[in-house]
Symmetry: C2
């Protein structure tokens, strides 16, 4: 009899899985597995005995098939840069981690069709570079782009800094290849701008957080590469002015605003004070700043003219009181460093309670004022640090601890503060998770704020497409 016969179905399946992926394709020592269990904010402690790293869709399918036969749960993982614990297995799952990192080939790039076909494990920055090499733009851009993988970006429907013009990850996908929970491969790698032949099934896997299947490859849209990028850093007269400035910038540039980021004085001041290389481009201090960018696809300098005109009009209209336009790529990088330093600089303000929320763009100022008041009433001395993708109505509403309060006491208020903030968000028609997803972190909010009918519809979809429930159990639902 073969050695497998002596094993339990689970043990036999795990042995088979090792054979499928080969010696290079799996880890089972605590030391090797540790990096796959580490969640960057330390909010979740993962547990798992086996990490498999198949390097083809066929091997992913074979692994999933073996798991299905033995009822072994699977947690798909990309670059492990997620912020809600969606890629971290929980102890109760007794799951294996299926890492897509070795599936990192760019299968095809078609500049005339403006598409690129990539495997799930491709690092986002590598896809951007491959597109640039063909004088095209892959617009998805976010702080983790150097290590996050496109499969994870699609499974979480990532947002980032270019959503205003190019949409979320969902809007950049034409086709998917997905390994289903029974181990079959669905080849939906269409390269078409138009295809109305049935339900658009790929939409369930995009943003599905790996709970319905495993994305192994995707056809993504490309765009002409911007040749004329103008970046401004401005001091806002007040929060409300950000709306007028955004509307002005969209119309003055011919709707070429690709980023419109809000930065509040607290994080900015901390960055200038503590982070080397961060300088204030302006001569005065403001409560709120905006960093925004116009991107023209041709090099004729239109955007420079548009930027200068709209800024002088915004100054005249009293929307802004000071502005700086980047005069070089390095100055542009300096401006973006201010934006990118917000999270790091917040550490100099002590502990932080964070919220990734969205609201109608026109309601952003009202939300921030209302949330600030509620948080201060609840926790006098608390220091809100709202920032982020203002142009999408997506605010990272973070709160730093009061100067005279110890961290433990501050964090003991987390639940009350968070509930207050989300109650306001939902009351104003907003979302308690704009771009980070649900994962493990926001299951309580799903139960509290999601309509029961909508939850029931989600459960029906889950049961229809993952009837055995082996895909990323306990996440999102």
């Amino acid at each position: 009899m073969s050695p497998e016969d002596a094993l339990s179905p689970r043990a036999a399946a795990l042995a088979r899985i090792r054979q499928i992926v080969g010696p290079k394709g799996w880890y089972d020592t605590p030391a090797d597995i540790a990096p796959y269990l580490a969640e960057q904010r330390g909010m979740f402690q993962g547990d798992c005995k086996l990490v498999v790293r198949p390097d083809t869709a066929a091997d992913v399918a074979a692994v999933v098939s073996a798991c299905a036969s033995a009822g072994i749960a699977i947690v798909p993982q990309g670059g492990n840069t997620g912020l809600v614990g969606a890629g971290i297995p929980m102890q109760a799952d007794a799951a294996i981690i299926l890492s897509l990192g070795r599936m990192n080939r760019i299968r095809d790039i078609d500049p005339l069709n403006a598409t690129i076909t990539v495997e799930a494990g491709c690092i986002l920055a590598n896809i951007q570079a491959a597109a640039a090499a063909e004088d095209r733009l892959f617009p998805l851009s976010l702080s983790a782009e150097g290590s996050c993988q496109i499969g994870g970006n699609l499974s979480t429907n990532a947002g980032g800094v270019n959503v205003l013009r190019y949409g979320n990850a969902r809007d950049l996908v034409l086709g998917l290849e997905v390994v289903l929970p029974d181990g079959r491969i669905w080849n939906g790698l269409k390269r078409l701008r138009k295809d109305n032949t049935g339900y658009d099934l790929k939409q369930m896997y995009i943003g599905g957080e790996g709970t319905l299947g495993i994305i192994t490859a995707a056809v993504c849209k490309l765009y002409p590469r911007p040749k004329d990028v103008q970046t401004a850093f401005v001091g806002l007269r007040n929060l409300e002015a950000s709306l007028d400035l955004l509307a002005r910038a969209r119309s003055a540039s011919g709707d070429r605003v690709t980023s419109f980021e809000l930065i509040c004085h607290r994080s900015f001041a901390a960055a200038v004070a503590h982070i080397p290389g961060i300088r204030d481009p302006l001569t005065r201090k403001f409560d709120d700043y905006a960093l925004f960018e116009l991107s023209g696809a041709n090099a004729d300098g239109d955007m420079a003219e548009a930027m200068e005109t709209l800024l002088s009009e915004a100054l005249a209209a009293g929307e802004i009181d000071d502005a700086a336009i980047a005069q070089s790529d390095s100055q542009r990088a300096d401006f973006w460093r201010i934006r990118d330093a917000v999270v790091e600089s917040q550490k100099f303000l002590g502990g932080s309670i964070k919220h990734d929320i969205s609201i109608g763009v026109s309601r952003v100022p009202a939300f921030i004022r209302r949330a600030n008041a509620a948080v201060l009433a609840l926790l006098p001395g608390a220091r809100p640090v709202p920032f982020g993708h203002c142009g999408d109505g997506n605010i990272h509403y973070n709160i730093s601890q009061p100067v005279d309060m110890d961290l433990e006491t501050f964090l003991s208020h987390r639940e009350a503060v968070t509930r207050n903030v989300y109650d306001i968000v939902v009351d104003m028609g907003g979302s308690f998770s704009a771009e980070h997803g649900v994962g493990q972190l926001k299951l309580r909010e799903m139960a509290r704020y999601k309509q029961p009918l909508e939850l029931a519809m989600m459960h029906r979809v889950k049961s229809a497409l993952d009837p055995e429930g082996i895909m990323n159990p306990g996440k999102m639902l």
Copy 2:
């Protein structure tokens, strides 16, 4: 006992439905029902004994609930401008038609958030006008816009002439209100650019052809209204040149090409010869023409300069041999009349076999040449009339009858011709229904060309969301 007790469950439900919508809300005489059964190309003869026209989502829900209780099938219908028979009930259904035409309110428009909230029965042109009144653009535009309704546009994921820049109907939706097959109302009317809190359920109803529920309202995206539109009508050196011209236009205009339409000489010549008011803007004849448009959102005239530059470069590069730029709105309208007249002008060429296909943009010329050769081999003398949304890879591949063949004989080849064309499309990675959908017309193609696995996935979604199968039975699946 109440009169209803004496009736069968079906009859009782139908009586209840009449009460729900009131005397103005239903038709049951053949004369009144006839318009709802008429399919514009006369390809399907509908059958139905009751048309209900509720004017609120609550009434739609009550009607659906009554139908669910008695197992009565429902065929939702918008403007009845569809081309695949999706809105036409079949005799076997014993279904009622639920017309959304009275739900025609614009519930809200928010220029700063760039959103408009509309009911399903709103005429597309009225939504465009409401947006324009706020200096915004609702970009969905197609030939039926004067009578089609947004609910139908979304249920079929309509395409049209602005997809190149703004995407399909799917890409213009932020939220939906849907009446589910059990009569419950799902309020998914979000106005958010970012919301990652679970499966994006609305995507199943968009393009779902009414088989999963009834869209009663939607939140749609608006854009800055173009202030500088430049329209050119050009004679192409050859089909392949259309690709170079499109790429040149996208980059020269800063990706501001909003339409790029292909027009072939046959339909154009017929239009010039037979349709009053259609003139040839060029001095020579060509095999293929392109009508394309650049839309700048600001009035500074950049597009005029970009258009002149790119056309002279295209002439120098030998991509085009003649070009005319519209010098006025009326001339622009004249150019578009040529495009819009293609379908009508084809009637002067006799009978026609039509295909709404899509292919990778870079493969359009190869597809047309290959399909032309196949069709001529099969049917010598046949006259292909390929035209349409070349910039999206969406070609309306129509074939006019040979001059020396009678209509009946020609149409007797329909099945063979159509299969040949679709075989080539699918072999080249294309779609047999780009923007018109499946409905009743393309059920055979669904069975022949759709992967069995994908069909099985669709059936699972259908069973999960419409377990009793009362929504638009026999369509799409």
